[in-house]
């Protein structure tokens, strides 16, 4: 269904002048996309350092770590991490990574940058709201990071912040005073920023597609961002409410999550009538769609990039769209699989496991369609393509771990063990990050007008790919032995024989982490010194490759593009090219899928 935009679809903003309007308080989706991206880069850097501290503590608990005594004399006296500080570090690690890395760059970073251009629009539907959503997210990050420096440090309740531990206040332990409040404020602000962003994405996709850009001619990245935005809109509001209720329980004497009779540190608490399970339901009702918010943009990028670098149309475009919609819908029906052993009705547990297994179907279909796309192609092994191929591998691995955890009978053994930690790191900490790397290596030329160094990129990929399997596959092994998670050390004899495995994983983590500095160097060096990029270095068909690298402030220089073709016309060689631009009126389509 073609949509004819009227002339004043987007507020016609003139080119911004002045440093502040151009780079700080900018309404240009491209600048905002980059701001989100660099917010994520900062967050992943900090989150990675925290993961090193966690891993080092597990195998060298008495190590004196430089700088920690200055950061937290109480938590790490002499630079030695205390048990409570270990929990603080892993809480901030999880919170930073899930929210400020995986829920920013894939959607708000790349989506803000590329969506309007890919659909032929000048900007997002609400540019000022867009700017507001970034700065709210930035404030949220400030609130979270500040918890490292105030009071007695960050909370120790994990990124999941289960009450009563998170709700009773300081008596529950260090970090549970102001640190937990800052966490709640940070996440509530983050939810608000995400909700504003979701409104923008949906409106832009529905309303601002240029002539000829029907929904079924959108690149799969746009479908992914649209579905992710719908998930965000429906789920972040619930987490926002949960955080408000938590802050009230902590500060206003309410008892949403706290039953009567709690004896904490010798003091009987005044609360009565609440349920800790209520938090878990609210949190995971958000939390499960959240993990799809983290991965679905990656599905879009990978589907897109595999097609470009296989020089073939994506196999099953319509099927992938249907699967993404199915995954989006089903993601709201499975949250109880995080709560099989929580104390909720075991009948609910059984019921939740059914859609949890069913959601495997669209995920498997998409994975097979990726393999079918690569089959018979003419593969170009750019760094971007390597991360896309790597994504397929690690997503299959992580997803298969989910098949075990989806069954309550097996979850009885596996819940709370390193098997779970291995599973979610494979799908989120590896696959979703690979999606971000693929997006970076793909869109960097367009964003910065220069090319990233391919040699450094290949080294980065090689070490990272092998490294992540070395870090996270062994977690499944030790999970089978029953090794509990969130333990700062292993006082019990049962777990001592597994310490060599932990040492292996720690060393792998340090090496893999170090190789990320190759990426950081490549990123920042190439922004200024990389070879200049042409308009379409990847010979790709979609609209962002019809404009200069980098594009002018209004993307199309005042012109309104017109689209004639599907987004994945690769393969047939005509006029010396094996691809047809979406905007090419003359090209014959390749065999469409």
């Amino acid at each position: 269904m073609a949509h004819m935009p009227t002339e004043a679809q987007v507020h016609q903003h003139t080119a911004p002048t002045g440093f502040i309007r151009k780079y700080i308080f900018s309404v240009d989706h491209k600048v905002i996309g980059k701001q989100y991206y660099f917010l994520a880069v900062f967050s992943v850097f900090v989150g990675m350092i925290l993961s090193w501290l966690v891993r080092i503590h597990l195998v060298w608990p008495n190590a004196h770590i430089w700088g920690l005594n200055a950061l937290s004399p109480a938590g790490a006296p002499g630079g030695v991490i205390s048990p409570e500080y270990y929990l603080s570090l892993l809480t901030i690690h999880g919170t930073l990574m899930v929210f400020f890395v995986l829920t920013t760059a894939p959607q708000a970073g790349f989506g803000n940058y590329a969506l309007p251009i890919q659909i032929g629009a000048e900007d997002m539907a609400f540019p000022v709201l867009n700017m507001l959503s970034f700065w709210v997210t930035f404030l949220a990050l400030c609130a979270l990071i500040s918890s490292l420096f105030v009071g007695d440090g960050p909370p120790i309740s994990g990124w999941t912040a289960y009450p009563p531990l998170s709700a009773v206040g300081r008596s529950a332990g260090p970090g549970q005073g102001i640190g937990q409040d800052l966490w709640g404020i940070s996440i509530a602000l983050f939810c608000a920023g995400s909700l504003l962003g979701a409104l923008n994405f949906i409106t832009t996709t529905v309303d601002l597609r240029c002539k000829g850009m029907t929904l079924m001619r959108m690149p799969l990245t746009c479908w992914a961002w649209l579905i992710t935005a719908i998930l965000s809109l429906l789920s972040f509001a619930v987490l926002f409410a949960a955080c408000v209720l938590l802050i009230l329980d902590r500060n206003a004497g309410t008892s949403f999550f706290l039953p009567s009779g709690l004896l904490v540190n010798g003091t009987l608490q005044n609360h009565a009538g609440g349920s800790p399970l209520l938090w878990q339901h609210l949190f995971w009702f958000f939390g499960h769609p959240e993990v799809y918010i983290a991965i679905v943009p990656g599905f879009g990028v990978i589907s897109h990039v595999l097609s470009v670098f296989s020089r073939k149309p994506i196999l099953g475009y319509k099927v992938i769209v249907a699967c993404l919609l199915g995954i989006g819908f089903l993601s709201f029906t499975v949250w109880g699989h995080h709560m099989f052993l929580s104390g909720m009705s075991p009948y609910s547990g059984f019921l939740f496991s059914i859609p949890t297994l069913i959601i495997t179907i669209p995920a498997t279909i998409i994975s097979l369609l990726w393999l079918g796309t690569v089959f018979g192609g003419r593969l170009r092994f750019t760094t971007c393509m390597m991360f896309a191929l790597g994504f397929v591998s690690v997503f299959v691995t992580g997803g298969l771990g989910g098949m075990f955890l989806a069954q309550p009978s097996l979850d009885i053994f596996l819940h709370g063990t390193y098997f779970v930690v291995g599973h979610f790191h494979m799908v989120m900490g590896v696959a979703a990050i690979f999606g971000m790397f693929a997006g970076t290596y793909f869109w960097f030329p367009k964003m910065f007008g220069r090319m990233l160094n391919e040699g450094l990129g290949k080294v980065h990929f090689a070490i990272t790919f092998i490294g992540v399997y070395c870090i996270f596959m062994p977690m499944h092994f030790i999970g089978l032995e029953g090794m509990p998670r969130r333990y700062s050390s292993f006082v019990n004899d049962l777990m001592q024989p597994l310490m060599p495995v932990h040492k292996f994983m720690t060393i792998a983590a340090l090496i893999t982490g170090a190789s990320q500095f190759i990426f950081f160097f490549n990123l920042f060096w190439s922004m200024y010194k990389g070879p200049k990029a042409s308009e379409n270095p990847w010979e790709s068909t979609t609209l962002e490759w019809t404009v200069p690298s980098p594009p002018p402030f209004d993307n199309f220089g005042g012109k309104h593009p017109v689209v004639y073709h599907d987004p994945y016309e690769y393969g047939n060689v005509q006029n010396g090219k094996d691809y047809v631009m979406q905007t090419d009126p003359a090209g014959q389509p390749a065999r469409s899928q």
Partner: protein, 267 residues
Amino acid sequence: MGKAFAVALTIITFVSVAVFVSRHWWFPEVASAHGGAMDHQFAETFVGAAIGFILAQLCLAAFAWKYGERKGDQRPIRIFPGGAKWLVVLALIYVGSEIILLEFVGQKVWAAMYFTPAAADSLQVQVLAGQFAFYFRYPGPDGKFGPSHTSRIDETKGNFFGIDTSEPGSQDDIVTVDLGVPVNKPVELLLNSKDMNHGFYVPQMRIQQDIVPGMEIPLHFTPTKIGRYEISCNQLCGLGHHTMRAFLEVMSQEDYQKWIVEQASLQ
């Protein structure tokens, strides 16, 4: 690069599967009645997952090896035979069969643990979890637990459960720091918490349950091997979470009788 990727991925695939299959790191030996069925279900899931893992990773490796674009490559692309249709069918068959097998056939273990109540002659033991220890209460000869409340807990006086000691039903209650049980007899634990969410996890028994304040959650099992098993707290409960443990002592009937009498004399 594609060929190197293919080789690395193939090695990773085989090493991973080999480590699993070798059972070098594996479940501890089962010591409960329902545990064997759970292990069997895991093994079935593992076979299905391993087949999917090996096929998917090796296909990916094979395609990366074979389909790299060579210089001046003009070979036509090949569309997957039949398009998307057969892959959709394959996914439906593979996942569908796993779902039927695991969900419906495999629910027996979950049902046995959680849909059926404990046997009528189970040994009932109350468990009280709190930062950072477990305590256990046996009802004593009268078979009843005396009334208790967290407001009465006084650790300095050894009243870990907050028992109202003035009540007649409380006089014979036995509170212990270890969970002693006789072998081959059903046990029903009544899990309580006085402060945070805690967990009750005994891997060898294949039992685990979160403990939630404000709820008393039943958990039943039948131990089948004599031994001393660690009970770990498996739900983050504070800075001492990693130290929170107790021991399950599974004894012969005679040893259990001696033990419970000895524990009663210590009250």
